[in-house]
């Protein structure tokens, strides 16, 4: 489902975020991407949907080349990749329902979407998706009146309503307290199991990865230093990812 070969990302300032990453994620997998901050997790996820252009290497999602696409082609690929951000990135002043409907922008006619009058079928999809993340009935509320945990669930609904082939999540619970993190991870796992949706989520808490993922990819200084089942992630391997001094909680 995701195929990455020799991916390099160097930013304008000369910072090397990704130093040649190879990665394969199969359909229906739930993969945790772990590593210290600055390891390149965000850059890798953003290269996967082309939010950040790769410097070199190849990325393909669902058999379509992201690195070889631009403009309309890239938008079509993106429309099938859901992305959940650490800071939720909702439009605060818009209603919850409008925020979810934004996930349909890649599917509805452009002219129609500009008026704000989404087709009834898309509104129905958005409402059903809100119910899936246990926010039924909150569609009319302004997004910034919701709690942090609820806002992240709105963001997940926005990604799901895209009917994505792949869901990417960039530290989806880093801004939430532990109890809420659990709810968010439970929702991601449920969707992975029920829909067979491929999920690649970066996590900064190793315990979360142990609990929810079967497979872990460890990044350090822009390279994959571990890729395998969670059971194989020994203390020695974790040390290699996070460095001896900086073991996560």
């Amino acid at each position: 489902m995701i195929r990455v070969r020799g991916l390099r990302k160097e930013y304008a300032g000369g910072t090397l975020a990704l130093a040649g990453v190879d990665l394969d994620v199969g359909a229906g997998e739930f993969v945790a991407l772990i590593g210290p901050s600055g390891a390149g997790k965000s850059s890798l996820l953003r290269c996967l949907n082309g939010l950040v252009p790769a410097t070199a290497g190849e990325v393909a999602v669902d058999g379509r080349s992201v690195t070889g696409s631009a403009g309309e082609d890239l938008r079509r690929i993106r429309a099938r990749i859901g992305f959940v951000f650490q800071q939720f990135n909702l439009l605060r002043r818009l209603s919850v329902l409008d925020n979810v409907l934004i996930g349909r922008l890649g599917h509805v006619p452009v002219g129609r979407s500009l008026t704000g009058w989404f087709p009834a079928a898309d509104v129905a999809k958005a409402e059903a998706t809100l119910a899936r993340v246990e926010l039924a009935g909150l569609g009319g509320r302004r997004a910034d009146t919701l709690s942090g945990g609820q806002q992240q669930r709105v963001a997940i609904a926005r990604a799901l309503v895209q009917e994505p082939r792949v869901l990417l999540a960039d530290e989806p619970m880093a801004s939430l307290d532990p109890a809420l993190s659990r709810t968010v991870m439970e929702i991601l796992r449920r969707i992975n199991r029920e829909d067979g949706l491929t999920v690649l989520a970066s996590l900064h808490v190793l315990e979360m990865a142990r609990e929810y993922a079967r497979r872990v990819v460890g990044l350090s200084a822009g390279r994959v230093v571990y890729d395998g089942p969670i059971e194989g992630l020994t203390d020695e391997a974790a040390g290699r990812i996070f460095g001896a001094a900086e073991r996560p909680s």
Partner: protein
């Protein structure tokens, strides 16, 4: 800044101030000598001649109309200008061109534009509207562009990540962040334009200022003060309403 530098700075400001006061012939004795004339002027305005209130209201309505049309057209013109003058949206060459144009137009006040447009299209409220637009469109464009530059990039990125087109990103990622601020700036400029439009009549560009100027020139002070009362009422009413709405927006 060092102690010496700060001392030099304050000294320089003091020198400029004193020199300017001398150059503008500031004089306390002349204020005191002028006091009886001021009091006499005020006394002759009393009591206001309420029979001209109707004219005052007619003028006030026209001033309101000038401000409404002028601010409305300005807001429309300011939208594309603002995007051209926003560093995070426009390509550099366009940004510099747009900013320069805005700075040139803003350097001249509404009243000066009014003189120009009265000469160009004749007397009446229409040159007043043009004058309001010339100044306000560029001021609003500057304010809008600063709001555009202060936009949160996260939600914009999130909308782009759904596969949205550039136009859709503007409509759903950018506009919802800007609309309340744009509306607030526009209302604020509308308040200011009521005051600006009130004196446009002094140069023949319509509105309540025409009556004030006419009565002052014919030494009919009671009538002038009655019209002034209407102006004060108009300004207070607009300020009150507009600031109430603005408080709700942000």
């Amino acid at each position: 800044m060092s102690g010496a530098g700060r001392w030099a700075g304050w000294s320089a400001i003091l020198v400029v101030f004193l020199w300017s006061a001398w150059a503008t012939e500031v004089s306390a004795t002349r204020v005191i000598e002028g006091l009886p004339f001021m009091l006499d002027f005020l006394r002759r305005m009393m009591p206001p001649d309420l029979s001209v209130i109707g004219q005052g209201v007619t003028g006030a309505i026209q001033t309101l109309e000038i401000a409404v049309v002028g601010t409305g057209v300005s807001a429309l013109l300011a939208l594309p200008l603002a995007f051209a003058a926003a560093r995070n949206v426009a390509p550099p060459w366009l940004f510099y061109v747009a900013r320069s144009v805005l700075n040139v137009f803003r350097a001249v006040d509404t009243l000066v534009y009014a003189l120009f447009f009265v000469a160009a299209v004749g007397l009446g409220p229409f040159p007043g509207v043009l004058a309001v637009v010339a100044y306000t469109a560029t001021v609003l464009a500057k304010l809008y562009s600063e709001a555009i530059e202060a936009i949160e990039p996260g939600p914009v990125e999130a909308v782009a990540a759904t596969g949205a087109t550039r136009l859709q990103v503007l409509r759903w990622g950018v506009l919802p962040q800007l609309a309340p601020q744009f509306l607030s700036f526009t209302l604020y400029r509308f308040e200011t334009n009521i005051r600006a439009a009130a004196i446009l009549g002094f140069v023949g560009a319509g509105g309540i200022g025409f009556y004030i100027q006419t009565y002052l020139r014919t030494l009919n002070y009671p009538a002038a003060s009655a019209v002034l009362l209407v102006l004060v009422a108009l300004v207070m009413l607009v300020d009150f309403t507009s600031s109430r709405i603005r408080a709700r927006l942000v």
